[in-house]
Symmetry: C2
Subunit: 211 residues, 2 copies
């Protein structure tokens, strides 16, 4: 028996974004962030996150310029990396994660922190001008901010979407309070996740490809 | 400057699950589903999803038995596959996705449906007794139900978590209304996503490994 549902990809896409635009109240956000916010809402199915989205006025300008320059996308976990749509990236940008690197567990012990935090340290040679996408671990975001305080190279943008009950809200509040002069985008509170982090990357990639 | 946050992985894990158990109201669910529900909430950071979780009484029993037998996990997208923690699986189970298979685009045209729906057809040789995890596409879930109506082999379980504004709520309502005699787990409404689908697989893998 054939069920009754929309099967046309373009119609699904169009109706999805039309629904987001009809229902989501983005009035609290800088207009430059709207296309990215729309994509976060689209990825999560939640128009109700709109008031919790927060970001720098120059996030889109700086992140798209970085992507066009060929900046790598540094991800805190494999799910974020899997969610980045490669063909959208404007310069065949590398999409990297270091969570599974062989040196990560030992480094985590040395710094008495999680593997996610230790993995951030392996970004060092690629961090300058990179686009950072964190969709899982609050400790990765916290530790990145600590390293920036120590004078580590500055990424072009931090897309901060850790999720969960311990440290997620706190790490994102710290990012928004003082992003160490790095343009950022985040979702305040416990909600977040890899789908939002990769949706932010994909939105910025689309914007970067526009003339 | 060192920031003040929890860095110990075990403490983070314990506090996270303690928060879920303290705040989430699972009283509307069969007790057998509680461990899986807790992990869905943990992955999403949202205790408020509890009332929308719905599943078969025998989902855990049937899915864990399948995993112990070595059933493959069939995923609708790469993000779900990336979120499955391989070392938790009890029988080195394969974790497969067919969305990127070379025959998918042509098959999508033939059936006038999305690539996600077409990819489901490529599961046929592996579908009997498999664990299906859908975290993205409503059309994948709808088409799977149509194929079951046509007499295709039955999976051991359907973990149905499509997300978004077009068809997600409808496909999950159809799954819950009539799951074609397959045990299922779902989250009603627009919310869902790959992190939930893989969290469900991971929860079942942990339960399958227990004596």
């Amino acid at each position: 028996m054939a069920l009754d549902y929309e099967r046309d990809p373009q119609a699904i896409y169009d109706r999805s974004f039309a629904t987001v635009e009809a229902e989501a109240d983005l009035s609290g956000l800088p207009a430059a962030l709207w296309p990215v916010a729309v994509r976060l809402i689209h990825a999560s199915g939640m128009v109700e996150i709109a008031p919790d989205i927060e970001g720098s006025d120059d996030l889109v300008e700086r992140a798209t310029a970085a992507l066009r320059r060929g900046a790598p996308v540094l991800c805190d976990c494999e799910m974020v990396r899997a969610g980045v749509i490669r063909r959208l990236l404007p310069a065949e940008n590398e999409v990297l994660t270091s969570i599974a690197a062989p040196e990560t567990p030992a480094r985590a012990k040395e710094i008495a922190n999680t593997r996610s935090a230790a993995a951030v340290e392996l970004w060092r040679p690629r961090l300058d001008g990179a686009v950072v996408a964190i969709g899982n671990a609050p400790t990765a975001l916290f530790h990145l901010l600590e390293l920036l305080d120590e004078g580590w190279p500055r990424p072009a943008a931090i897309l901060g979407f850790p999720v969960g009950f311990v440290g997620a809200a706190e790490s994102k509040a710290e990012l928004a309070r003082h992003s160490r002069c790095v343009p950022f985008l985040t979702l305040q509170g416990r909600r977040g996740g890899s789908a939002m982090a990769s949706a932010a990357v994909n939105a910025l990639a689309i914007l970067a490809a526009r003339p």
